[in-house]
């Protein structure tokens, strides 16, 4: 077998994607079901001259990667539900101070300690609104290891392009399942590197003054530009300000730089949508069962299609609307009580034709679960 072909867990696929993207600093804390990411990086990072640190808690891990990002490195942390809750304040700091970083949440059942070794997708809205205050966020997911790898690389690219934290919202099944992964050759997936300022030393550098294209070039801590970074509303120098114009301008910038680029960040896959009268919308491990149903029903002549979302936030509403426009019914397949279903209902022209096929008992939603909902919608009984 070629050395670039591996048989790995999804968590390891995420690690390989992060190393490929140029990860140089990881801080973490043990938590099921994401621990393998920390374990693998404790071995891999020092091999490539990077640094791994096991911090005293989840909060410290999030804080440490923000500090390390400011010295010019690509950084990541990984956790699961309870840890993701603890990281929220510092995640908001990264939003406010515009610090590129990647935060992995391998979802398990919640609330609270919940169901640590079992699958769920209940953190979709937490990823969106978990930290306090108005803001925008990027969150991505994947259903198989090749996509976990690619989406992880993309998360680093988006973090650097938009100076933002990016959440990778995987789940226990994808994290722990083993399947084939082919590591792409260097250069096969383009990488976005840190955009450094061209302002020379001795000239006033404005860390929070966007260029014409909206991007904010950075200067590494330890470099020739000394500036202030704060979680307070701040002006173009990074100095605290409660001037209403400054506050309004910054909040608009933080939201607009993400929301206005929804289309550029939207990653999705479609299967048999061209003539579908029933569209399944799914993501993560749920999409595996959904895809099985589509293939199975297509073989029997039913016009079923799948829209698999990889970017959950910013929610690609226009794409969902377009892909579902011709469908008589839309079934959202997810392992929560309908977190993405609400977004789909808001996106389509007729929310009455949107249904939910879900499972919230810690086990993977099966093709039979989905088929039963389809039979109900079609008036055929279970």
């Amino acid at each position: 077998m070629k050395s670039n072909v591996k048989f790995v867990q999804g968590n390891e696929a995420c690690v390989e994607g992060a190393i490929y993207a140029g990860l140089k600093f990881f801080a973490g804390y043990p938590i099921t079901p994401s621990t393998e990411i920390a374990e693998a990086l404790s071995a891999r990072l020092p091999q490539v001259g990077g640094k791994f640190i096991q911090m005293e808690d989840e909060i410290a891990s999030m804080c440490a990667i923000i500090g390390a990002s400011l010295t010019g490195h690509k950084v990541m942390t990984a956790t699961s539900g309870p840890g993701f809750s603890l990281k929220q304040e510092a995640l908001g700091y990264a939003v406010m101070a515009e610090i590129p970083c990647v935060v992995v949440n391998v979802q398990r059942g919640g609330p609270s300690t919940g169901n640590p070794t079992h699958v769920a997708q209940g953190d979709v809205m937490q990823a969106r609104w978990g930290t306090h205050g108005d803001h925008a966020i990027v969150a991505m997911t994947a259903s198989n290891h090749q996509d976990v790898f690619a989406v992880t690389v993309e998360a680093f690219n988006i973090a650097e392009t938009y100076r933002t934290p990016v959440v990778l919202l995987f789940d226990e099944v994808v994290g722990h399942m083993r399947e084939k992964l082919v590591i792409p050759a260097p250069g096969e997936i383009p990488l976005v590197e840190r955009l450094h300022t061209s302002v020379p030393g001795g000239v006033d550098y404005h860390p929070y003054l966007p260029r014409e294209d909206g991007r904010l070039p950075m200067s590494d801590f330890g470099g020739v530009h000394r500036y202030n970074v704060t979680g307070l509303f701040h002006d173009m120098w990074g100095f605290p300000s409660d001037n209403p114009g400054v506050v309004h301008g910054l909040l608009r910038h933080l939201v607009d730089k993400i929301e206005n680029n929804t289309y550029q960040m939207a990653r999705y896959k479609e299967f048999c949508l061209e003539d579908a009268d029933t569209v399944l919308v799914s993501y993560g491990s749920s999409a595996r069962s959904a895809l099985h149903v589509v293939r199975n029903r297509r073989a029997r002549g039913e016009r079923l299609g799948l829209l698999e979302l990889q970017t959950l936030w910013p929610f690609p509403a226009a794409i969902v609307r377009e892909k579902c426009a011709r469908a008589r019914s839309v079934v959202v397949v997810e392992m929560n009580t309908g977190q993405i279903m609400r977004e789909v209902k808001a996106a389509v022209s007729d929310p009455e034709r949107v249904f939910l096929a879900n499972r919230i008992d810690g086990t993977l939603i099966t093709p039979t679960d989905i088929r039963n909902i389809l039979r109900l919608i079609q008036g055929r009984g279970v």
Partner: protein, 267 residues
Amino acid sequence: MAVKDFIRERFFPHIWCAGCGHGIVLNSLLRAVESLGMSKNEIVMVSGIGCSSRISGYLDFHTLHTIHGRALAFATGVKLSRPELNLIVPMGDGDALAIGGNHFIHAARRNIDITAIVMNNRIYGMTGGQFSPLSGCGIMATTAPYATVDQGFDVVELSRAAGATFVARSTTYHVQQLTKLLREAILHEGFSVVEVLTQCPTYFGRRNKQGGAVEMMNWFKDHTTPVGSKAKAENPDLIERGIFVQKDLPEYCKAYDQVIERAQKGK
């Protein structure tokens, strides 16, 4: 380089009350940095939230004003990713040892080369005078209208037990000593802690009838003594000043270099 060259004049006046001791700590710190002849580009100052934490914004270093209690965790990320930088972390007593207590003991345990300055005024100033884990028993505060029943931490003993390899204490009255201690702390390779007793006349002084800034600083003069002095033996209630711990142990970032070496040998 003159001390004023370390200041971002654009961002003055500062937010501290008249009589606050934090400006004295700032003065002392800048004199220590100046005496070391360090480049401003080599210094990263990381702070949390509170009156003391605003110190970072006023200084012309790389400055990171973070969230409440977590300054040392942010600083750990900066330091480990760029070990050649000098990390100075000024914190208030609540910031360092209530919400930030866990990060404090673990930074000490790792012996990572960071200088932690605990500006101890025994009160939460920015939120208006609530008691802190360093207030101690019998203190009046807005959240202790019948006086505190909480015991306080001893920063020196806590730091020593947690593994800090340099631990010192002084006060805003003993500013010459403070400058020397801060200098020693910055030079020390490993986790260093300097506790500074500083006055908050606005909240602590007023509520506890300790008078204004002058009376509070006189209290520091009268109630402290050099470490190991005869006065302490005669009067155990006196608070000791000076260096309590100063030892060489492997520094965290240097130790991690060995991890990298071992990992790359196996390749």
